[in-house]
């Protein structure tokens, strides 16, 4: 890590000031925003500090775009904390070029996560065929399977495969124009074009691409006019051997209200499914995700997580995030004890997590005499903040909702706030017996509610 790739050796060596600042910024980001940290941050290279901007070079455009879109705010904040100045961090591509400041294309294109490469895809019995097909398409676009149609439930790796194809093709054919959009985006652009009377622009845009990748194509259901337009786009690309890649939550024939001619076209190429990962695959996924984030997992942690969460990969990822936050907040290593505290086995969760969010909110509102709107507002006065934290704690303990969802019920607070709030209450319960009694009464109330 930290080795400069040969292509960069000729470039101006960064000033000591820039290097020191960058090292401090990385430390600040690791402490304040542990969940966005990736192992490849080590490979980013501070180029210079000038006119209030620290320029940092990424190894490819995906990294640059990812840093700009997903991490820009965190890095700028860290730069200010680390330097005490109003420093801005600018990310450059491998050629030293900044991203377009107002990207005309990528603004509505979906962001490609640089983590989603074939190398980082964990193969298992449930996705072996889809993975092989995606690789074949990436090697010989337009020739092997056209269209490639990947279907499966949410969070099983469809988007990862789609993006892996994009990343591979863009590295092999940098000049290719790839249109990677969600089905919603296709639809809304189509509607806009119709309303603005600019159909020829729309057609030009989608029919002149080298590859068309559409995520969640099942949203075409019931949209007759969009289906009609998509049909023509499909034909135009197919006839000129341009690769088409589609993902959906169901196989073509099961998408409701999809025209027969589209169903049959979707089946011309290869239709392949991704299925839920088995236990061994889940362990490998947890290990891969942790490695990407630079987390050292203690013995048995991956096995514990894989055993507790068997639904989909997004939840596995959420569990890793929770582990990471908990470890950062408590300053502990990610070991089995921490994993057991943070991620409960499903059986235990079933026994406890039976209450609804409404029951928790109702109980707290009645008990503390506060208004729901207050709990959801930005107010930080103690009389509101404490009940709000109690709700966070109780919802964590008694409902199945994720940190994000609980935050959503409380006026859109983010998961770290919920985690912190719940932690605060847990702390108080151990230190203050009268407060513990208060919580017990509330819990009794919620349990009463749940029984009806």
């Amino acid at each position: 890590m930290g080795i400069i790739p040969t292509s960069q050796e000729n470039s101006r060596t960064p000033s000591a000031e820039a290097q020191q600042l960058w090292a401090k910024i990385l430390d600040t980001v690791r402490a304040d925003h542990p969940t966005i940290v990736r192992l490849w941050f080590e490979d980013l290279w501070p180029q210079d500090l000038d006119s209030g901007s620290l320029r940092v070079r990424c190894n490819d455009e995906f990294q640059r775009d990812h840093m700009e879109r997903q991490c820009g705010k965190a890095f700028n904040e860290a730069a200010r904390l680390a330097s005490g100045r109003l420093v801005h961090v600018q990310f450059l591509g491998p050629n030293g070029r900044a991203g377009p400041s107002t990207p005309p294309r990528s603004a509505r294109q979906l962001a490609i996560n640089p983590d989603n490469t074939f190398e980082n895809f964990v193969m298992g019995p449930g996705n072996r065929l889809a993975h092989a097909a995606a690789q074949a398409v990436a090697e010989e676009p337009g020739k092997r399977y056209n269209p490639l149609f990947i279907h499966g439930d949410v969070g099983l790796g469809k988007t990862h495969l789609l993006q892996a194809i994009c990343i591979r093709i863009m590295s092999q054919h940098p000049d290719w124009v790839i249109e990677y959009v969600s089905c919603d985006e296709f639809t809304s652009q189509f509607m806009e074009a119709v309303q603005a009377g600019r159909m020829s622009d729309f057609r030009h845009e989608f029919r002149q691409v080298d590859m068309l990748v559409i995520d969640d194509v099942h949203f075409l259901a019931k949209r007759d006019r969009t289906q009609e337009e998509f049909f023509h786009t499909f034909n135009a690309l197919y006839q000129t051997n341009r690769q088409i890649v589609l993902s959906s939550d169901a196989p073509p024939e099961d998408i409701p209200d999809l025209e027969d001619r589209l169903v049959s076209r979707f089946k011309w190429g290869l239709v392949t499914a991704v299925e839920a990962p088995d236990y061994e695959t889940r362990i490998a996924i947890v290990q891969t995700k942790a490695r990407l984030r630079g987390i050292v997992l203690g013995e048995g942690v991956a096995e514990h997580v894989a055993a507790c969460i068997d639904s989909n990969i997004r939840e596995l990822e959420g569990a890793i995030t929770n582990l990471q936050i908990r470890a950062a907040v408590d300053g502990r290593p990610v070991d089995l004890a921490l994993a057991r505290e943070t991620i409960a086995a499903p059986q235990r969760e079933d026994a406890q997590a039976s209450a609804t969010m409404q029951a928790v909110l109702d109980a707290a509102i009645a008990f503390y005499g506060v208004k729901l709107s207050d709990l959801q507002a930005k107010k930080k006065t103690r009389s509101i903040a404490r009940p709000r934290q109690v709700v966070m704690y109780l919802a964590r303990k008694h409902t199945r909702h994720s940190l994000e969802e609980i935050g959503g019920y409380l006026g859109g607070r983010d998961h770290t706030t919920v985690m912190h709030g719940a932690g605060k209450v847990a702390e108080l319960i151990t230190s203050d017996p009268s407060f513990a009694a208060e919580i017990e009464r509330l819990e009794a109330r919620i349990a009463g509610d749940a029984r009806g």
Partner: protein, 388 residues
């Protein structure tokens, strides 16, 4: 050339124009001011111009009697000293012969050795506004421009550092004109409306050197008129007064600062959780008093907000000197109690240029930047905290 000048008007003009001329340069012509007398029918006028190679200024005065047209190029600081010293004379007579200029009062006469007037690089004029490369042009009331310069110029870096750019960003988008300055520790933004501009007018953004803006501020301060701004890739022109038909009173031209201004919008915090409202004058006085017990080592003043009591306590502490405590009543407060340290000079700098009686300060915590704004929307100020 032979011109009889009103001494007061001449002094004003020479004062401004001579500050453009370079002080140290291998080309002595750049330390000079050029006098050009012209006559159109009965009306005569004297134009003074100078340039240091980057900034050029051309200033006209009509309070003269032009008897013979002509030109002269003489050292700026000597001319300025002479005109300033003849303070009992209502008028002075300027006579140019070859490369010398005679300045005559009633009881004194000076002969200044100068240069060939053709040796001064051309100083842009009104005619340059039509030149190619000047893509954008708009008119702006000069008093507003002066205000906006005043609200930003103070926040530019005094010396060159890696943390800031030496100039003020001037950016027009549609009807809005923004000026932004930062020295890396604070950032000032002033916003104004361009009268008559349409939404579809081309956007423009450039970085104007501080020297050019402080000159412009001196020029606009004197009269209430319109300024025409023209911006190109590498230079900008400002014409004051005159309008479409009449010749402008002054034309300032400047090369622009190369480089990229840091994305300032992103430096303006958007997730502040604490909001305090003050009477501006109360806060101003309190900060000045608390700053009395700061010194070079401890430049910070601690601001401790007590929301419940609507109180702000400012305190400072200088080793081996003592400490100060000043209390200010808050007009309003929303958010948790917070403590933060600021360089008091940075706060008073901003309060000095704000017009409104009420100001708000928005904070997140003691580590993140503070935001100060006026009750109107024309001024925003971001300031980094200091550790105390």
């Amino acid at each position: 050339m032979r011109v009889v000048c009103d001494r007061g008007a001449l002094l004003d003009a020479v004062n401004v124009v001579s500050s453009v001329a370079a002080s140290r340069t291998p080309k002595p012509q750049l330390t000079c001011v050029k006098l050009s007398a012209s006559r159109d029918g009965d009306a005569g006028e004297l134009t003074l111009s100078a340039t240091d190679g980057e900034i050029g200024l051309r200033l006209r005065t009509a309070r003269v009697d032009v008897q013979d047209v002509g030109e002269a190029l003489v050292p700026a600081d000597k001319l300025k000293q002479i005109v300033a010293a003849e303070d009992h004379e209502p008028t002075l007579t300027l006579e140019a012969q070859d490369r010398t200029l005679h300045v005559k009062g009633v009881d004194a006469s000076y002969t200044l050795l100068g240069y060939d007037p053709g040796d001064l690089p051309r100083v842009p004029d009104r005619s340059d506004f039509g030149a190619e490369g000047l893509r954008t042009r708009f008119d702006f009331p000069s008093d507003m421009l002066g205000d906006m310069i005043g609200m930003t110029l103070f926040a530019t870096a005094r010396e060159t550092t890696r943390y800031a750019i030496n100039g003020v960003l001037m950016r027009r988008r549609g009807k809005t004109l923004e000026m932004v300055a930062t020295d890396g520790r604070r950032l000032a933004l002033a916003r104004g409306t361009v009268p008559g501009a349409g939404k579809d007018d081309a956007d423009v953004s450039c970085i104007v050197p501080t020297k050019a803006l402080s000159l412009l501020q001196r020029l606009v301060d004197s009269e209430d008129e319109s300024v025409t701004v023209a911006v190109g890739d590498h230079k900008a022109l400002f014409a004051l007064g005159g309008g479409e038909d009449g010749a402008p009173r002054a034309v300032l031209s400047t090369t622009l600062v190369d480089g990229q201004f840091p994305p300032y919008e992103e430096a303006i915090p958007s997730d502040q959780t604490v909001k305090a409202t003050f009477e501006k004058d109360l806060l101003h006085s309190a900060v000045r008093r608390a700053a009395l017990l700061t010194n070079e080592e401890s430049k910070g003043v601690r601001l401790a907000f007590r929301g419940e009591h609507r109180q702000l306590e400012l305190s400072s502490h200088a080793p081996e000197m003592g400490e100060a405590r000043v209390n200010v009543e808050l007009k309003g407060y929303d958010g948790a109690d917070v403590e933060i340290g600021f360089n008091p000079g940075f706060i008073t700098d901003a309060l000095r240029v704000m017009h409104d009686a009420e100001v708000t300060m928005e904070l997140k915590d003691g580590r993140h930047a503070g935001l100060i704004r006026s009750s109107g929307n024309g001024f925003l100020y971001v300031v980094m905290p200091v550790t105390i």
